[in-house]
């Protein structure tokens, strides 16, 4: 950055010096020798300064470039023990985030999610990849694969250094009631309404992929895979968004909607090639969320419902279905204490009794730093008897957001 104030001062200084030198025109001849000597010294000095200046600007150029490269992200490791399974350590995930930015015009943001599965295989997923164009102070265009702007959990709270418990609330993880990611574009930003702050996101996307299941001699809907499908089977887009207001600076209220079409393009544990002529079904999501904060006390919650309509067309024609979930979470960190206490209640309702779950989760966290956290948690799960959803779980996690 060129410092304008200093530039001005140097111009004034140069004028003064030049003026002084001009005023010495009547100088006596005998001092010419001295003057010559002085001049030679000056020339030498200038030559050295010019060399220094080039070196200096070369050293500076990497610091003052128009583009920035920045790496951030998070990682977690842990241990889990449930009623029916022996406890095991897990590597959780390594999620590096890459940022490339050209001035305040455009930014690329991308997050990879690298996980080690139960069998030791490494899985790499592109969590999001978008090119964000800052159109003006109130609108940013976000194009590519982005975290679903429906509700708060997925876009704002899921990274393990942010989530105060080791697990996502039931229905907010993959293949639940709340969409995870979308491929398309969104316009998002915020603007003041009088003295009230607001923020918004509007999107158009391919929408989710539906999974069917063959059970008891007929097809039914198994799940919604809202993970950012790279193609749109039915060619019909999903439109949606979220709008949030702050009635006071410590309280955020958000409302989300999405609507469009989605089509069955996969069969759970079956041969997807038998699918043909599948009808595009109605797909509607509604959501509401709130977040309240007072000092180190946080109370937040959200509700999401995803509804898929029925169709009479196609090999997997079936009735529609509804997935619904909500949670409320309270957390408190007394004063500057390193300990934080968490409690969360979740109720997930799906078309499959075996997946339904009611959960109380409690947690005790130790903050090594504000983003390096040791989490101890216990989930009291209530689901269909003898189903996985009914098993209580102990979770230990060490997470680091960098």
């Amino acid at each position: 950055m060129i410092n304008i104030g200093n530039m001005k001062t140097s111009i004034v200084a140069s004028t003064l010096i030049v003026g002084m030198l001009c005023g010495t025109n009547s100088i006596a001849a005998e001092s010419l020798e001295e003057l010559n000597e002085e001049l030679e010294k000056l020339k030498e000095r200038i030559g050295q300064l010019q060399i220094d200046s080039v070196r200096h600007s070369e050293a500076e150029e990497w610091r003052y470039s128009d583009s920035l490269v920045h790496l951030s992200g998070y990682a977690d490791v842990g241990y889990q023990d449930s009623d029916s399974e022996d406890g095991s350590f897990n590597v959780g995930r390594f999620a590096p985030i890459f940022h490339y930015q050209y001035r305040d015009i455009v930014m690329l943001e991308s997050e990879l999610e690298i996980e080690v599965g139960d069998d030791g295989e490494t899985e790499v997923k592109l969590e999001y990849l978008s090119v964000d164009v800052f159109l003006n102070d109130y609108i940013t265009l976000v194009a590519g694969k982005f975290l679903s702007p429906i509700g708060q959990f997925r876009q704002n709270l899921h990274p393990s250094w942010i989530n105060k418990l080791a697990s996502a609330p039931t229905g907010f993880a993959h293949d639940g009631a709340a969409p995870v990611a979308d491929v398309g574009f969104q316009l998002r930003g915020g603007f003041p309404l009088g003295r009230t702050r607001t923020n918004y996101a509007l999107f158009v996307s391919n929408g989710p992929v539906l999974v069917a299941e063959f059970e008891d001699g007929e097809f039914e809907l198994d799940g919604i895979e809202a993970e950012g499908a790279g193609s749109d089977e039915d060619g019909e887009k999903v439109y949606g968004g979220r709008f949030a207001v702050f009635p006071m600076s410590s309280l955020e209220l958000g409302f989300s909607l999405a609507s469009g079409k989605a089509t069955v393009s996969d069969i759970h544990e079956g041969d997807s090639s038998i699918l043909g002529g599948e009808g595009a079904r109605d797909y509607d999501v509604i959501g509401a969320d709130f977040a309240y904060q007072r000092n180190n006390f946080y109370l937040r919650g959200e509700y999401v419902e995803s509804e898929v309509g029925g169709t009479a067309f196609g090999a997997a024609a079936s009735e529609g279905a509804i997935w619904e979930t909500w949670y409320t979470q309270a957390s408190y960190r007394p004063g500057q204490s390193k300990f934080e206490y968490v409690m969360r209640y979740t109720d997930f309702d799906s078309p499959h009794d075996s997946a339904d779950q009611e959960q109380w989760a409690i947690g005790l966290n130790y903050l090594l730093t504000n983003s390096a956290i040791f989490k101890l948690g216990y989930e009291l799960n209530d689901g269909l008897t003898d189903s996985e959803a009914d098993e209580d779980r102990l979770t230990v996690q060490l997470t680091y957001g960098f």
Partner: protein
């Protein structure tokens, strides 16, 4: 007289060159950070920071990152949290000032520690 004027001319030129070079060095050594985005309001930035930066996650201290790294992080947050352009510039101005102050405090503390050490050695 001609030679004198000539000499004067070249000395004028030399002086101008010298001053421009010095001015350039002076200006560039005073540079602190990238020249974008435009500076915002420090006071508004402090308020926006206090009201927003702990909404979703624990506070990330201004000392955690360098000024240039903060640019990308705060622009990332602008998109995530729906901040306006003004709020973004204000928060950045605040954070970049806050970590500079912290760095100064650290340097002063180090200098004090060094002085104490020297004193102890003398004894």
């Amino acid at each position: 007289m001609n030679t004198i004027t000539e000499k004067m001319r070249s000395s004028e030129k030399a002086a101008v060159k010298l001053v421009i070079t010095l001015g350039f060095l002076w200006a560039s050594s005073a540079a602190l950070a990238a020249d974008f985005p435009a500076p915002g309001s420090l006071a508004d930035g402090a308020q926006t920071w206090a009201e927003n930066c702990t909404r979703c996650h624990n506070l990330r201290s201004p000392n955690e990152l360098r000024d240039d790294q903060w640019i990308s992080s705060v622009f990332h947050m602008r998109v995530r949290a729906g901040l306006t352009g003004k709020e973004t510039r204000d928060v950045l101005t605040f954070i970049q000032a806050a970590n500079a102050t912290a760095a100064q405090v650290r340097t002063q503390a180090e200098a004090r520690a060094e002085a104490q050490q020297d004193e102890a050695q003398e004894k």
